[in-house]
């Protein structure tokens, strides 16, 4: 339980970060971002900067194992049990459940990594690209419909999560 140790995460006002999530290292979290309990954000060697309006669900592992900064933009959704090591993630992306995004991949805007897809390709993904399939048999295509914003979900979570979990106090 991390509520006893002093965490060095810089949490902006308005962000909902549950106490039971595992934050290690130099992490900055933007406002209105919701981090569910049991998420793991581990900045091993380099810092992690998370933007605004993101949803990071349970069992998500966001790990920065290199020394450069890892930047995550706004309005992203990280669904349950996904594993992200990518250095740069733009806005409006969705990483679905149990997906794996490798260290050399960078997501631009509006990308969707489908459930259980392993994306290890060393490139910056085109805007709106979509990966689907299972495991290593992953196919890609570009979609024209951008994923919709999660504003309603974030509002709902902001009201409900504090009723059931302890929330870390934002600094500043």
């Amino acid at each position: 339980m991390d509520s006893l140790t002093l965490s060095t995460a810089k949490i902006a006002n308005g962000a909902i970060v549950c106490c039971e999530c595992d934050l290690q290292g130099d992490i900055t979290i933007g406002s209105r971002t919701v981090i569910h309990p049991r998420a793991k954000i581990i900045a091993l060697s380099g810092p992690i900067i998370i933007g605004e309006n993101n949803i990071i669900e349970e069992q998500v592992q966001i790990i920065n194992s290199s020394e450069t900064t890892m930047v995550i933009g706004n309005n992203n959704v990280f669904e349950v049990d996904c594993h992200v090591e990518s250095k740069f993630i733009g806005d409006n992306n969705i990483v679905e459940s149990k997906a794996f995004v490798g260290r050399q991949t960078s997501l631009s805007n509006g990308c969707v990594i489908g459930a259980k897809c392993e994306v290890l390709v060393a490139e910056t993904l085109q805007e709106g690209s979509l990966f689907y399939g299972a495991g290593s048999d992953v196919k890609r295509r570009v979609q024209s419909d951008k994923p919709s914003a999660q504003g309603a979900q974030i509002e709902f979570l902001s009201k409900v999560l504090p009723n059931y979990h302890r929330i870390r106090k934002p600094l500043g």
């Binding site: 489908g114 689907y132 890609r140 295509r141 570009v142 419909d145």
Partner: protein, 492 residues
């Protein structure tokens, strides 16, 4: 994925000679033999859509090309398409200046997020039944060709019918016409005139539907776009071969031409014994029901053998009887089975000779008689012997000799605390008994140590009641059924 009963270690020998686990076989209660999926007839019972569970009669299915009219599949990834609604503002019917929300529907794939908007299909105002069908460019030509060949087939049939009439007629006439002076017809035949419509035959021969022969041309419709040599190809705009072939009428080359495909209907099948033509498995009519009208799985009729404990020189087997009748089980080694089988075959062949004296041939017997006839039983035993000895066995078991009683399955037995009956059994052979389960001990002797994978086999003899005899007065007598069982022990 492991399964509770689908053990690949203990396999039963089916009548066709293949080894299957017990839960994959059927037990024909007329032939008293195991039948597996490969030696039964599979018949189409009903056609239904696996999404909307709608029953489709076969005639209607043929018209709709075996596709469901309401459910669609994604052309990109072959998953089911879900209907989603959006609200748009349109001017209302009464007052064109006021905007009212209206629900418009579009289809989206849950797996790859393909939507009908990507194909350029406009959102539909109604949730079901209004998505446009693919138009077949060649449908007119294909229809004309079909008509042509259908008329050819009709002409063939007519000519064959005529020839048959002629042949039959000629015999008939030659025997009877001159005798009984059916002279009008005889006169017509002699004069060579064709028959009048006295038998309801049509006067005019069917016409052949004329169709234009196809003209070969050098240019084809689906020529490669010359831009492919000059412009950079974006792979996401081009369909894969799988996607193209899934819609054979249109075969779109560009991704934006992909439209939703109607979902294909699934088949519910029923199984029928090949020999006696009785049904082994017949599902209910309702597609959403998982029950069966007839369900003769071997799991419920033949006692089940499981390896209970296995050591280098000792094995314990658990036998479980899941049928409604108690049965006496005997485990025979393959040699013992051979002796018993040979003596039985001789006995049956003797009685077979007597049955022939009563002039009953195999072709005239149906159903019960066929299954019970000595000739059939002898043939079954012979093939069973032959199949059993084809399997290689390198471990020998020492099996208990006396018959072991296996009580019937009794669901109430769990709640009864009475001790099992006092049976005179060798305590070294029968180790443990509870309800309808018995554990017996079978010490092993390895006879051939060359191969690492050890296999052993024995023949299961148990009493089964032949179907068709259940009357209230007479308790049906069980007949002995022999089923070879082979166990792969792996490395011991």
């Amino acid at each position: 994925m492991t399964h509770l009963f689908k053990s690949e270690k203990v396999q039963y020998l089916c009548t066709c000679g293949s080894l299957k686990p017990l839960c994959r076989t059927y037990f024909c209660r007329h032939c008293l033999a195991l039948k597996c999926g490969e030696c039964v007839f599979h018949e189409v019972d009903i056609l239904y859509c696996s999404n909307c569970l709608e029953n489709v009669p076969p005639g209607e299915a043929r018209v709709k090309k075996n596709q469901c009219s309401e459910c669609f599949e994604c052309p990109v990834c072959d998953q089911l398409l879900l209907t989603r609604a959006t609200n748009i503002q349109i001017p209302s019917a009464e007052d064109s200046s006021k905007l009212v929300p209206k629900k418009m529907f579009y289809l989206v794939c849950g797996f790859c997020r393909w939507t009908t908007r990507e194909a350029g299909l406009p959102d539909q105002p109604s949730a079901t039944g209004s998505w446009p069908d693919s138009d077949n460019v060649n449908s007119v030509r294909v229809g004309a060709l079909l008509e042509h060949y259908r008329s050819l087939a009709q002409l063939d049939k007519f000519e064959k019918e005529q020839k048959r009439q002629l042949k039959r007629r000629s015999n008939y006439l030659s025997f009877t016409a001159d005798k009984y002076s059916l002279s009008a017809l005889a006169a017509r035949k002699r004069s060579g005139l064709p028959f009048a419509g006295s038998l309801g035959m049509k006067k005019e021969t069917p016409q052949i539907y004329k169709v234009e022969p196809a003209v070969a041309s050098e240019e084809t419709d689906d020529a490669l776009d010359p831009d492919i040599f000059t412009k950079v190809l974006t792979l996401s705009n081009v369909t894969t071969i799988d996607q193209r072939i899934r819609q054979p009428e249109r075969q779109p080359v560009k991704s934006e031409d992909l439209i939703p495909i109607h979902k294909f209907l699934s088949v519910r099948r029923s199984q029928r014994c090949r020999f006696c033509e009785h049904n082994l498995s017949k599902p209910e009519y309702n597609p959403s029901s998982i029950k069966f009208k007839i369900h003769l799985g071997a799991f419920y009729h033949v006692p089940d053998v499981i390896i209970y404990r296995l050591a280098r020189d000792d094995m314990q087997l658990r036998l479980c009887n899941r049928s409604q009748y108690p049965t006496h089980v005997r485990l025979l080694s393959l040699d013992q089975f051979a002796l018993i089988a040979h003596s039985k075959i001789d006995e049956l062949e003797r009685s077979c000779g007597e049955a022939e004296k009563e002039k009953k041939s195999a072709s005239s017997m149906v159903g019960h008689e066929l299954c019970e006839s000595p000739a059939t039983q002898a043939a079954n035993l012979k093939s069973c012997l032959r199949n059993a000895f084809k399997e290689k066995v390198n471990v020998v078991l020492q099996l208990p000799n006396e018959p072991i009683l296996l009580p019937a399955r009794d669901d109430l037995a769990e709640y009864e605390l009475t001790a099992p009956q006092n049976l005179k059994e060798d305590p070294k052979a029968v180790l443990w008994r509870k309800g309808n389960k018995v554990v017996i001990s079978a010490p092993l002797t390895v006879i051939d140590d060359e191969l690492e994978d050890k296999r052993t086999g024995f023949v299961f003899e148990f009493g089964a009641v032949r179907a068709g005899f259940e009357t209230k007065e007479v308790q049906p007598q069980p007949t002995n059924v022999y089923i070879p069982v082979f166990i792969s022990l792996g490395k011991i």
